[in-house]
Subunit: 340 residues, 4 copies
């Protein structure tokens, strides 16, 4: 950590900062320049959280040197984490695709979706039973009935299940049914929920917050790992920018950046990022070309009848086409993909 003193800081101010840092166990390097004095502090960064150096007289700014995440960092663990979902390995040799409807609406809708995405090569079924909706007047999900239908579809197809958990109180219920617990974009910094999934022995799909920096996202992962669960799959799903033609701005560069910073696997959700089905296929291809370990795609047997997010859902035919294209890209990337 570097503490930059402002140009009117006097000896007393500088000494006060040094004393405070030394008391907390930091080792000090002092550089006195013509215009500024700079104090380097070397020591355990986890102590920084509870120090308010910038409020001390004469301090201009505090510049952290090390990333604030530790357990999630590639420095801490060099080899890739492979997340096991039963016999499926996310982050291993193969690209895995999760697919299905935004929301579970009925047995027929879900079963039809499950069969069709399975046929096309998906290995994991997505579907929301609890739905976070901007409007209180929108469909909020079938809740436990939806979870039961997901379990039934798993039974029938062998697909694993990923579904969202929104509330610590319903986590035990969701965990009974889900193979992967999804933390949605609005809950990426719901720290109590993070602490609860950290205590579970189940893989977690951690979506990026809609305006989360990569560092904040890795700090959310750090909460889960620090709580005991390192079976985390990161999911890029678009960030909020000024551009309104697409629903959000898909930040594919986050994929190689994450591969550099962390050992955790990364997948991409182009459907939610873009909000228009027409552009999902090329961006799925691009995501895998950028190094993603998998995809999560919305598929609905009849998008125009969907109770949620129809405009971004693929028909089963379009999804099959997407899988064919992604399969070709995965070969170039030296990744396997289950046959259709």
């Amino acid at each position: 950590m570097i503490v930059v003193m402002n140009h009117c800081a006097d000896k007393k101010d500088i000494q006060a900062v040094i004393s405070k840092l030394e008391k907390t166990g930091f080792q000090i390097h002092l550089s006195e320049g013509v215009e500024r004095t700079i104090i380097g502090a070397i020591g355990d960064k986890t102590r920084l959280g509870s120090m308010s150096l910038e409020a001390m007289p004469g301090v201009e700014k505090v510049v952290p040197i090390l990333a604030p995440f530790k357990l999630a960092s590639r420095n801490f663990r060099e080899e890739n984490t492979v997340v096991c979902v039963g016999d499926i390995e996310v982050g291993g040799d193969a690209i895995h695709v999760m697919a299905g409807p935004c929301a579970v609406e009925s047995r027929e809708q879900l079963m039809e979706s499950a069969l069709r995405v399975k046929e096309a090569g998906a290995t994991i079924l997505r579907g929301g039973a609890f739905k976070p909706r901007t409007s209180p007047y929108s469909f909020q999900g079938l809740e436990e009935k939806g979870l039961e239908m997901l379990a039934e579809a798993r039974e029938a197809t062998g697909l694993k299940i990923v579904t969202e958990v929104m509330d610590p109180r319903t986590l035990p219920l969701v965990a009974q049914y889900a193979d992967i617990l999804q933390i949605g974009t609005r809950n990426m910094q719901n720290f109590f929920l993070l602490k609860e999934v950290a205590a579970m022995d189940k893989p977690v799909l951690l979506k990026r917050g809609i305006s989360a920096t990569i560092e904040e996202w890795l700090m959310a992962a750090e909460y889960i790992i620090a709580g005991g669960n390192s079976q985390i799959i990161l999911c890029e799903r678009g960030i909020r920018s000024f551009e309104t033609y697409t629903r959000n701005t898909l930040d594919l560069t986050a994929i190689p950046v994450l591969k550099h910073l962390t050992h955790l696997p990364v997948i991409v959700d182009p459907s939610h990022a873009i909000g228009k089905w027409r552009f999902v296929l090329p961006m799925a291809r691009a995501a895998v070309a950028a190094g993603a370990d998998g995809l999560i795609i919305e598929v609905h047997p009849n998008p125009s009848e969907a109770l949620c997010d129809g405009p971004q859902s693929l028909t089963p035919e379009n999804f099959r086409h997407l899988m064919d294209e992604v399969r070709q890209v995965s070969k170039i990337m030296n990744r396997k993909m289950p046959d259709a």
Copy 2:
């Protein structure tokens, strides 16, 4: 609602949209232009949520005409909502200032803060007992002990208490102590938590999500009103932009915009928005000049020892100065303010 068909939509596509809308109870106005056909649909907007018109063949885009919030809207209720916190009226004639430390750290720190902000004219004491922190290694709050200290400070000073609730499971506990329940920026779209505070008979301070549009913010308020609680104070606390010199970008224009769109009172939190104490005073003045009903300000007896957010906390002396300045602006605005 306006449905714009794309230029290759044929009669069949147009008829399908019309049939779907008519079946849902909308009345139709059709405009066939040279380049586009446009379908106007008049009816109950709350039905829109569960229709995926944009996924229908030939549909280019759907343009909503009415705002999606209803109960929170100024059209629904013309006069201002005044939120009563005991004998204090937020949104009434007077400007109210909430002040205190970011986090409750100790009896001494809190009591000292409470006495000093009371002296300067604050009427409500702020202080976090449960703290949302980006890092799992940062101080997470004193929890119930913190709540007890807040109650003690209320006892000693007569100040009302505002404190954050982060989890539906601890809501009953927090509600035992708090006069106002604060929903923080990270929980503005924690819909289960919104539904729970909606069921309480207690005022809610609803902070704007860090990347929430004004419309999304009012939809969060709509959740709470629709659930039965219209005692809501909106709090602008800065949004995320590309500018990094300040922690966030304080969007003061949101104040007159909200006054136009909704009947709910609006206060401003310059401390969190800016992150640097030096700029809090002028922006507090500006907030009241823009029409805010109050302020929430971080004050710490010794900012450089603060366990949380010291750099943005005012000393009691600086806070007293701020109150003097704000008092002058409130006179111009024809608003009262409690004497110091």
Copy 3:
């Protein structure tokens, strides 16, 4: 165009809007709903520019229905525009890669760069002679000497030349040397410069403004086409978002969106978007997988000695590796690429 009247608009307000629109030659469709009156106006959109309907009494908002660009639109011209740069066709069957240093620094540096990128399969040499620099103290380019070196490198290698023009006064000079005139991100809305390049008989590389929406970008292209030059290559180069780990946020979804909205070819500049050479290769692969017609890549024989943007420049070895990878992706996309 749809004019939404607010709920207190009276008959007189509505009639005034209708009269004004009819006088301008629009045909009117009136929809009187319970809560709102809506006025649809059908006619020539280019008249809208000079009307201030939103300032009329009773008007709540004006919603445009058609895109504001016309000549740049895919509706206007269905087939792809192919931009001919001598015998090279950008936007045709082949993927073309432009490569070279950020700035021309010396004959040696440029010639070495040119030979190495040519060897690896690039067909166009990039290099700035006039450099837009945030700081007045940074290297501003070699100006005419730099242009002469570019011409010399073209002579020696057969590569075409793309270089930036920043000022209408030096446009004739730059145009003497360049095969493609680059309009940089800071000049995307320098409308006088756009009008001047519109009058030239030379291809234009139009970079996206750092905070330009796709619509604004296409309006900049519209300026050039309306002025008589439709030989335009669009270049996505990252937009400004809150994320600071990368220099900008590369918006690859813009590629399929542009392919849908316009007939103009689209290339991608991952080097400037990202600012770190390490992530350029995967994003080049992703850009082509998303449907880009080409790439522009910074290559420097010795990045750590570069006078400009060294951190994002590839070494010639890394560039050769990038080209090998991109060549594989182009096969999947059924695009040709010149052999190395």
Copy 4:
């Protein structure tokens, strides 16, 4: 400047960075921590521009310590710069308001505007003769005829004239008529134009770029001062964020931040920032309460007939009301304001 080496950097990498810095004349302070080696470099920051340290092997990041602007900095010049426009002092004791139509449309429109804003207490007349317009089909300004009308209005009223210059070629013409040369938001980084106005002996109104950080904005001012002209008025006019209810997000916090960082005067343009006349008055009040030295406000005798930006223009009556309110705020700020 601090160079942070990555954790696999070896002795050779570290030595190479040190040698390079020492050769450029920097003095070195080395801190070898357990996890990272950090190299502090003290010396003339203007040499940094041409060094690509981040491209050297083993370098993780380079952290600048001093701001990159020098002549524009409050450290360089402690007292406020007062910009003299004839006998008017911007940045002195008095608040000055510039007002008038977005574009000069006719003699009648301009003269009527000039008389009315003068009556209400404005001291400077604004009006565009050259207009930057997103669409090539929108009204582009009356050019020299517009300038003549501005001169005539000055003659008749005694108001000073501020008008935009967009092109180095028309600068001599504009400078013949204008008292203040306006650099618009789209030209804040048009560096050739900056260099030209730097060579003029005339005050410059430098608007913030729509997505410019405060630092980039001050670097644009640095270009002008470094070129010889320090008569610069900075103008905050809203930045681009995700919020779409207002045209841009007015960043009033920039005012006290600029007062801290620079000696240059700062004014605010709420009309362009917000885009809706209804919210201009409260934000004008807030701007002065935040410490602005002045305002620039759009006023049109008949906003709904305006050829440009009618929706954000005030009627003369509304402007008079605004001036009354601003006058009250200026008293609190201990600033004078010309009587109406």
